[in-house]
C-alpha cells in the first residue's frame, strides 16, 4: 500500500473523514458513557460510521479511539483494557477501509498537564506507546495525534508512535482565535511554534483540528506555510461553532458552506481535508466533489 505521504508528494489532495464523537451520540451514546467501549459493545454501530465515510469517498478514516489512553479509560475503570479497546477500534476501521484506504489511529489528549506535576513526560510516553501499538496491531497504517494544546504532550505522543510503530505519524493541534485575531492553542502555542517544535520529533504530517470552523483554518494553514513550505498539512475542521437549539447543541455549518472554503484551504497549502465535530458523511461527500474537481 502506498503511504499517505507518497500520494501527497505525487501532488494529490486527499480527503479525510468527518466527526465520530457527535455521530456516536446520534447513534445513542449517552453522556457519561465511554465512547471507546462501543468498539466492543456496539461493534455494528461503530462499523456503520466507519463505512459511511468510506462510502462518502474519503481516502482515509480515523478510529474510535480518541479517548483510548489509559488516563482517559481509567475514568471508566477500563485502564486495563487499553490494548483490547484500541485494537478493536482499528480493526473496525480497517474492515470498513479495505486494503486501499488509510486507517488513522486516533490518539487524543490525556487531560493531564505535565507542568502542574500531575503527570511526568515518561508516563505520557508509556500511555501513548501502549495505545499506538494496539492501534497498529488492529490495522492502523497511520497514527493521528490530535486536539493537542500542549507541546510537551504532543511531543511525547509523536515520539511514542514514531519509535514503537511503523505507522506514519500525524499531529494536529487545536487553535482558537484570540482577541488579537491570531490563533493560539489553549496552552498558548501558535501554529508556527507547533511546526518548529514538533517536526524534529519525527512527525510526517502536521495540521489543525476542531477549533472555530473551516474558515479560520485558512489563516492557520497560511501561518504554517510561512515557516514550512514542504511538510504535508492535514485539516480536520468543525462544522462551525456549536449553537444551542431546541434543547440540543447543533453545529451550524452545512455541507455546502464547508465545501465553499475547500479551494481556499487548498490554495493556502493544505494537502488533506476532513471534518471534526458536527461534520457528517454529507459534508465529506461535498468536500470530495470539490477536491476531485481540482
Amino acid at each position: 500500500m502506498q503511504r499517505i505521504n507518497e500520494k501527497i508528494q505525487a501532488g494529490k489532495i486527499l480527503v479525510s473523514d468527518g466527526a465520530w464523537g457527535t455521530y456516536l451520540q446520534q447513534k445513542g451514546l449517552s453522556p457519561g458513557e465511554c465512547p471507546e467501549l462501543w468498539n466492543i459493545e456496539h461493534y455494528d454501530e461503530v462499523l456503520e460510521i466507519a463505512k459511511s465515510y468510506i462510502n462518502a469517498g474519503a481516502d482515509m478514516i480515523e478510529t474510535n479511539s480518541f479517548g483510548g489512553s489509559r488516563f482517559k479509560l481509567e475514568h471508566y475503570g477500563l485502564e486495563r483494557r487499553v490494548f483490547e479497546i484500541n485494537k478493536a477500534a482499528a480493526e473496525i476501521s480497517r474492515k470498513a477501509a479495505g486494503i486501499e484506504k488509510h486507517v488513522l489511529g486516533s490518539v487524543g489528549p490525556t487531560g493531564k498537564i505535565v507542568m502542574t506535576g500531575n503527570v511526568t513526560p515518561e508516563e505520557l510516553y508509556e500511555a501513548f506507546k501502549e495505545q499506538s501499538i494496539a492501534l497498529e496491531e488492529g490495522g492502523a497504517d497511520a497514527i493521528v495525534v490530535e486536539t493537542m494544546s500542549d507541546l510537551e504532550e504532543a511531543r511525547q505522543a509523536v515520539k511514542a508512535a514514531k519509535e514503537n510503530t511503523g505507522c506514519e505519524v500525524i499531529c494536529t493541534m487545536t487553535f482558537e482565535r484570540t482577541v488579537d485575531n491570531d490563533y493560539k492553542s489553549m496552552m498558548g502555542v501558535s501554529p508556527s511554534q507547533m511546526v518548529d517544535e514538533i517536526i524534529d520529533h519525527g512527525v510526517e504530517i502536521i495540521g489543525a483540528n476542531c477549533g472555530n470552523g473551516i474558515e479560520g483554518m485558512i489563516q492557520i494553514v497560511k501561518e504554517i506555510r510561512k515557516v514550512n513550505r514542504t511538510i504535508p498539512v492535514l485539516i480536520h475542521a468543525n462544522a462551525g461553532i456549536p449553537v444551542f437549539k431546541d434543547g440540543a447543541t447543533v453545529f451550524p455549518e452545512t455541507p455546502e458552506q464547508m465545501a465553499g472554503f475547500v479551494n481556499q484551504l487548498i490554495d493556502a497549502g493544505a494537502n488533506i481535508i476532513g471534518g471534526c465535530c458536527g461534520t457528517t458523511p454529507d459534508h465529506i461527500r461535498k468536500v470530495v466533489e470539490i477536491v476531485r474537481a481540482v
Binding site: T22, S30, P31, G32, G111, I113, G188
Partner: protein, 222 residues
Amino acid sequence: MEGLLEKIAYCVEFGKINKNAPYPPDMKDQDGADELTKQAIDQGINADEILKKGLVTGMEKVGIKFRENKVFVPQVLMSAKAMSTAMEHLKPFFQSGDVKRKGTFIIGTVAGDLHDIGKNLVAMMIEGNGWEVIDLGTDVKSEKFIETLRSYTGSYIGLSALLTTTMVNMEKIVKDIKSEKPDIKILIGGAPVNEEFREKIGADFYSPDPQGAVEYLNKLIA
C-alpha cells in the same frame, strides 16, 4: 512595607512560587511568593493586607491578562500555584478569624463530563480572590450540588462543561437546584457555553473567562 506586598503581588502575577522554582527564568534565585509571604507575616504585616494587596492583586492581574489572551493556561497555573503556596501561610489567620473569606463558592463539572482544566482555573481564580472554594470535582449530579448547598448556606454555585453533549445537562442541574433553592445564584462556563445558552437554561451569569466570574461574585457581595 508597601514594597514587600507589591513584591508578593508580582510573584503571584508572574508565577514565582519560591526561591528554588525555575519559573519564570528571569527571577532565578530570587525569593518567591512563599518566602516573601512568610517575611511579611514575620514583620507583623496584617494578614488581611497580605491577602488583599499581595495575593488578590496578583491574581487579578493575571486574570485580566488571561482574559485579554496576553497569557495562557500555563502562566495561570503557575500563578495559582504561587498563590496557593502563599495562602498556606495565611491559613492560621483564616482559622482564627483574623481574616475572613468573602463567601463560599461551590464548583463542579456537570454530570457526564470528566474535564477539569477549565473548572480548576475558575476555582483557583476565585480562591485567589479571597473566597472559600468547595470543589466537587467532575461528573457532578444535581443531588451533590444540593446536598453541598445545605452545608454551606448562602453560597454561590458554578457549573462547568467542555462538551456540547454535556452542556445540555447544565439545564437539568440549574432547574433542580433552583426548584430546591430559587434564590441561589448559578454561574456557568465552558468552551461551548455562551450568553444565549445561559438565558435559555435560566442560569444567572455566564462568563467566557474566570476573571468575569470573580468580578460578578464580588459585585454580588458589594
